[in-house]
Amino acid sequence: MNQDTNVDVHLSTGQIFAGKLIGAPLVSSGELVFTTGMVGYSEALTDPSYYGQILTFTYPLIGNYGLPNNVLTDIASAEFLERGMESDKVAVSGVLITEHFENPAHRLSHVNLDSWLKKYNIPGVVGLDTRMITQLVRDQGQIFAKIIPRESVGFIDRSNLNFQENKSVTDHFFNPSDYNLYPEVSNKSVVEYGDGPVLINVVNYGVKWNIVRELLRANCRVRLLPWDCNYESYCDADGWVLSNGPGNPATAVDVIKQLKNLIHSNANIFGICLGHQLLALALGAQTERLPYGHRGHNQPVHMAGTQQGYITSQNHGFVVNKNNLPSDMEVWFENLNDGSIEGIRHKTKLMRSVQFHPEACGGPNDTSFLIQDFIRDIKAKETHRAYS
């Protein structure tokens, strides 16, 4: 079908789709992923877990309520606490959508999607059958895409990773799993927020801001640690949160080593998404690829030993393998659709993690109580210790 098009999307499986360009006229490639969330596009696009990925929205209309203010410097400012952005920049390498809306009129909207993507030097493509693309991704497991504007002015900047994009349509796709991406998404030096009585270290593997917000709401002092700092030097904290982030967890050998020590020190630990997988690996478990990744705001999980289910926000293709959990760990949550592990916890220690996103943004807040519970349990443990 002939279309009024000016950009092509090439897939590693050979398909080519033509569309219209929005955002920056740059060549960009990455792993092709999708999300089925119907709201929360600004949260998704700024979620560092998507670093190096080209994100397809199954919901066809994106940009309806505009984009929030894009100059966010002070993480403790009012704009930070107001939701909308999950990091200070667009994390994805490209966006594929069916239709975008040019004149948003929401009270919090500052710009439209096109201008916003331009500002962050990220290309987007509209006019695509994103349902069909989603099915391709779903059925192929892992595929890569390259966005090639017909009148491109350059390439997306990956100099930090020593990767130079090119216009080849048959190979040379950026595969985020081949790189250590934490330097790209983590902070360079320690930053502290809040002044609550409980000190929590958040190890930043690509943290979503709402994890920090939730901790501040739980009246914590948050110390945001660079992914590669010496964890032992910060063992004065009351608890540790291992953040979400991009990439294949199995390749993060150094991090896993540090986490093993942390586990031995009996630290109170809460892992989220990638943090959950890193914790599991450090405990001796293994991760594997899911046949169908969990990519949306509607994932049902069941809390083991209860009759309770929760709807969660998820974005992952890897999962902790059930078969070799250490004996002192137990399954905490399970996915109601495919039975995969959604959370694990230590039988006696305050050490737990979840595959989903209790901090939501976007998606349902049904499990945000888990973060509050973690802080509550830290406090209870300390009170207990003080009296015993």
Partner: protein, 1086 residues
């Protein structure tokens, strides 16, 4: 599953309350929820007892494990049925407000306790809280949830005292009411007092609250199981800002203009409410959201299946009623599977990768004098839902669906009015406001201006603006500037990019043809040919819609769903054509419910689809009405939820290549498409296009009758004044006038003299200047009969004659119909005439023929070559499914007819009116259909069946007093036989002058009351003060004064909820039945 287990161990009977006749505010959606609930219960091995007088529903079909009681749903009847059946449990959450009110009443009367019946679902105590706004608001504030601030008053005086302190505008509404009945907006003290008075005439409590006009209105559909697991299945956003009843709002799902934070905030609150109230099953939560902040209010909740939950079910594909029924039995959502995917959990929230738009169908044109302004009182009688991948695509579809005309957004009722008038149309919403918005953009009003007048969220306005702009773009492809003056040349020169863009914006081929024809005088047939050219061009460019699935999971994983729609925003079909070794058929649905076409046709469609499935043929259903069972996920093998028009049918037909297309079960809408479908070369099954034409074309039909020697009322299709004169010279008044052939007609009228005839003709010419005007001699005092049946190649294989209680002149859809006919000789003569017609026309399928009988002469009025609205009624009375028989014929099988019909089974079908919701309308019966629904009761005793049917349509026994105006002399005399009974009843009778004299002359005591125009308002206060609860008011004549006098009485009676009878024959049948009945000892099941 504690409840389930305890039930299964012993008594397996569960009683399910239905919703009764379709009315404004409570319509076909409850057949959807009711039948899904029953299906879910039957699946679990329960014996289901349905109480619902709505005979035309799928829910009231009997089965091995289902008993049906066609009784009015109220505490008295249900107690009576409980006593007989002794069910273990009762379910009231699937039959709308009627069922809920009945359940609350049963609880209050301790009936459930007395008979040890468990109420399944949300606890009745909770229901009482949610139904009383004050209790609800108090409860919510105890949880820190914000409800709209409001106050409850019980007298006009109380309101008067504080009226100056209100923060105007305010909303006035009565508590415990269907669809906001008796409510409205008040801008000042006098308006508030008026509305209070009105509301208090219906209900002892009136609620006055702050108006949040301009806020966004959003709804969430929540389901909770008894273990406390809660999901939010769908959220919806109203295009119309707060203030217009959600049933009258254009609604889009999912929400479009709120961000994640707002979405989750309202979702969290909705879930919190449902958890705090311990709701079990489905709940709808309505919110007002301030567009300028995160401020919100809970407007109301409905702790039951509702219109919105039916819509949400169709919008998401998640079978809400089915799952809710399982949850109500005690299942946890965690142990149930999603029926659409079959292998994933029912505990999840559907993700949509498309948009759905609901547009209400008002049909106010059918009610002369109806007040058109939309407010917190619902007025619409039906709705459509459209599906697309963008707003313009879905919106354009929806507008075409709801208009049932191909022009869609090109319909321009406001093209002639001034800018100032247009601004008024924008400011005060009516049933046509969306066309005012189009008109305003056409006139280049700024978006800001339209926004400030309508308060429609700019996102929606931007889309409408884009559609309007594109109309001009299409038009500009044919003008002198572009050097293309010829239509064919313009189409020839279209470029594919533009055409694809227009299709993506939802323009139909017909609309493109029409826009390219601007300025030409084109007939409908020409336009159809021009449409064909656009289609050929489009097909040559290979611009075809793709078929996408609704799978609840946005294709995150593969599903077996067969729920489909068409879109131009796609590159790949989700399905391949259905394959069947036997035959496959495309069944056309009936479209939106409206006056004259309602749930009866859906019943026919469902029966036809079930027939195909049962016989291992493939059933492909096309329909666009979310309130139906035909659009349920398991009614057909394939469901196309899309437009019922040539273009869509052809695309589906070419894709699926079915054995044929069946049009005769969807009422007039699909039947009207037959000629063009035939021209398109589509294989039609059932009646031939020629047979349909023979029966629908007046002239051809008339000459058929002449050839057969069957009488018909004298008529003429007059184009000139000369022809009219010639007709009048040989005919007598009254004369029925109508512009051209239309179903349950617009602008149809009985005229009694030359003045009214001339006046009407000039009006009719304004509607359709080119078509001939049809004048028919109207036979006063004639009895009306109908013959419904099935024919095979011109042979009638079954025919059932039924009789109207009202004399001819009352539309057959409004009449009370009884079966079997008492006069067997007459029945035989009617059948004889009918069979001749069937043979002459060569009918092959379901049909309906209407007769008049006057002085023993039989006249034929019309023949419908399709299933009629009586089909479910007749099928259930005679215990043979006529739709099923018709399908046997249509699919070429040898029909198995049981000629032994149990003559002792008596059926009465009565019409349900919604006049109390339509301000300004005179609640009388006439040649134009006005009823919104019907009931049908069946039993052995005529009197009891008739009274039951009347009770189910709101005509209850008089208890306080009767207000009587018996109309003209000949009507008065008809009442003579029942007068002794009236006397015996010993109830105060108030009568207007002539009637009082008539009663006195016949020895009946009564109080004479002055007419209103005599300056005395006592007649009105009698009604308002509830001194009378039964009003008989027979229209007298067409004189302005008489009309006014009677209209006010009828309107007041209707608003006050009195039993109102305006037809002498109907009134007499009621009292005669009452006088001679012996009540049944036990309730009769169907």
């Amino acid at each position: 599953m504690p409840i389930l287990d305890s039930l299964k161990s012993g008594n397996k009977k569960i009683l399910v309350l239905g919703s009764g006749a379709l009315t404004i505010g409570q319509a076909g959606e409850f057949d959807y929820s009711g039948s899904q609930a029953v299906m879910a219960l039957e699946e679990e091995g329960f014996e289901v007892i349905v109480v619902n007088p709505n005979i035309a529903t799928v829910q009231t079909n009997t089965s091995e494990n289902r008993k049906v009681y066609l009784y009015p749903v109220n505490a008295e009847n249900v107690t009576y049925i409980i006593e007989k059946e002794r069910p273990a449990a009762i379910i009231g959450g699937f039959g709308g407000q009627t069922a809920l009110n009945c359940l609350i009443e049963l609880e209050k009367l301790s009936i459930l306790k007395k008979y040890n019946v468990i109420s399944l679902g949300t606890p009745v105590k909770t229901l009482i809280t949610t139904e009383d706004r004050k209790l609800f608001a108090d409860k919510m504030s105890s949880f820190d949830i914000k409800c709209l601030p409001f106050n409850v008053y019980t007298s006009k005086q109380d309101v008067q005292k504080v009226a100056q302190t209100f923060d105007y505008p305010v909303i006035v509404r009565s508590a415990y009411a269907l669809g906001g009945l008796g409510s409205g907006f008040a801008n000042n003290i006098s308006e508030v007092i008026n509305l209070t008075e009105h509301a208090l005439s219906i209900n002892p409590q009136v609620i006055i609250e702050k108006s949040l006009a301009g806020w966004k209105e959003l709804e969430y559909e929540v389901m909770r199981d008894s273990q406390g697991n809660t999901i939010c299945i769908c959220n919806m956003e109203n295009l119309d800002p707060l203030g217009i009843h959600t049933g009258d709002s254009i609604v889009i799902a999912p929400s479009q203009t709120i961000n994640d934070q707002e979405y989750q905030l309202l979702r969290d609150v909705a879930i919190q409410i449902v958890n705090k109230l311990q709701i079990v099953g489905e709940c709808n939560v309505q919110f007002a959201l301030n567009p300028e902040s995160l401020e919100y209010y809970v407007i109301e909740i409905n702790a039951r299946l509702s219109r919105s939950s039916a819509l949400a079910s169709k919008a998401t594909g998640y079978p809400i009623a089915y799952v809710a029924a399982k949850v109500v039995l005690g299942y946890s959502l965690l142990e149930l599977k999603n029926p659409l995917t079959k292998n994933t959990s029912a505990f999840f929230e559907p993700s949509l990768d498309y948009v759905t738009i609901k547009v209400p169908k008002w049909d106010l044109d059918k009610f002369s004098g109806a007040y058109r302004f939309l407010d917190s009182k619902m007025k619409s009688v039906g709705e459509v839902m459209s599906i697309g991948r963008t707003f313009p695509e879905a919106f354009q579809k929806a507008i075409r669906m709801v208009l049932e005309k191909p022009e869609g957004i090109l319909y321009s009722p406001f093209s002639e009015i001034s800018d100032a008038e247009l601004e008024k149309e924008l400011e005060k919403a009516t049933d046509k406001r969306i066309f005012a918005v189009f008109e305003a953009f056409k006139r280049k009003f700024s978006l800001e201006k339209i926004f400030s007048l309508t308060k429609i969220t700019p996102w929606f306005l931007e889309q409408i603006k884009l559609i309007t702009k594109t109309c001009s773009e299409v038009r500009s492809c044919r003008n002198s500037n572009s050097g293309v003056s010829d239509y064919e040349a313009a189409v020839f020169k279209l470029d594919s990019l533009k055409l694809l863009k227009w299709k993506k914006l939802g323009f139909s081929d017909r609309q493109i043809a029409s826009l390219l024809s601007s300025g030409d005088r084109v007939s409908a047939l020409d336009l159809e040919q021009r449409e064909e050219l656009v289609r050929l061009k489009r097909h040559a460019f290979k611009i075809r819609p793709v078929i996408k699935k609704i799978d609840t999971v946005a294709s995150e994983f593969p599903t077996t769903s067969n729920y489909l729609y068409l879109t131009y925003h796609g590159a790949k079909n989700d399905v391949i054509p259905s394959v069947n070794e036997s035959q496959s058929f495309l069944l056309l649905g009936s479209g939106p419910y409206r006056i004259g076409s309602s749930v009866e046709f859906d019943w026919c469609g469902v029966s036809a689809s079930q027939f195909l499935k049962k016989n291992k043929m493939t059933s492909i259903v096309l329909n666009c009405n979310p309130e139906t069972v035909s659009t349920d996920y398991n009614t057909s093998d394939r469901l196309y939820f899309d437009e019922i028009n040539n273009e869509t049918i052809l695309e589906i037909y070419e894709f699926e290549n079915p054995t044929g297309v069946i049009t005769c079960f969807g009422g007039q809408l699909p039947n009207n498409l037959v000629p063009s479908l035939k021209r398109l070369g589509i294989r039609l099954y059932g009646h031939s296009a020629d047979a349909i034409n023979l029966s629908e074309n007046r002239i051809l039909f008339s000459s058929c009758l002449d050839e057969l020697g069957i009488k018909q009322p004298a008529w003429v299709a007059a184009r000139s004044d000369e022809e009219i004169k010639r007709f009048l010279a040989v005919s007598r008044f009254p004369i029925l006038v109508r512009p051209s052939f239309v179903l349950s007609g617009t602008a149809m009228k009985v005229t009694h003299d030359i003045e009214s005839l001339t006046a009407f003709i000039s009006k009719a010419r304004a509607v359709a200047p080119d078509s001939p005007i049809i004048l028919t001699e109207f036979i006063s005092g004639a009895k009306e009969f109908e013959m419904d049946g099935v024919a095979q190649s011109g042979n009638t294989i079954i025919a059932i004659v039924s009789e109207h209680i009202e004399n001819a002149g009352v539309h057959s859809g409004d009449a009370t119909i009884t079966l079997p006919v008492q006069n067997k000789n007459l029945e035989l003569k009617i059948k004889e005439a009918g069979n001749k017609i069937v043979q002459k026309i060569g009918l092959n399928g379901p049909f309906n023929i209407q007769f008049l009988v006057f002085n023993d002469e039989i006249y034929v009025i019309e023949c419908n070559a399709r299933a009629s609205r009586s089909f479910p009624f007749i099928s259930k009375v005679i215990e043979q499914n006529l739709a099923d028989l018709a399908m046997q014929v249509i699919t070429g099988r040898t029909p198995v007819v049981n000629s032994l019909i149990d003559q002792s089974r008596i059926g009465v079908k009565a019409a349900m009116f919604s006049f109390n919701r339509l301000e300004g309308v005179d609640p009388i019966l006439g040649v134009e259909m006005a009823s919104t629904g019907e009931v049908g009761c069946v039993g052995k005793n005529y009197q009891n069946v008739l009274l039951r049917a009347f009770e189910a349509t709101g005509i209850k026994l008089p208890q306080k007093g009767i207000l009587f105006s018996a109309g003209p002399k000949e009507e008065k005399n008809k009442f003579k036989p029942i007068l002794p009974f009236l006397k015996e009843m010993n109830i105060p009778i108030f009568a207007t002058e002539g009637t009082a004299n008539f009663l006195h002359d016949n020895g009946i005591k009564c109080e004479k009351i002055k007419w209103l125009d005599d300056g005395d308002t006592k007649i009105i206060s009698l009604i308002i003060d509830k001194k009378v609860d039964f009003v008989i008011n027979i229209p007298k004549d067409e004189k302005e004064k008489q009309l006014f006098n009677n209209r006010i009485i009828r309107q007041t009676a209707s608003r006050a909820g009195c039993s109102l009878l305006t037809d002498a024959d109907k009134a007499i049948s009621f009292f005669a039945a009452l006088a001679t009945r012996t009540p049944d000892l036990v309730p009769e099941q169907l």
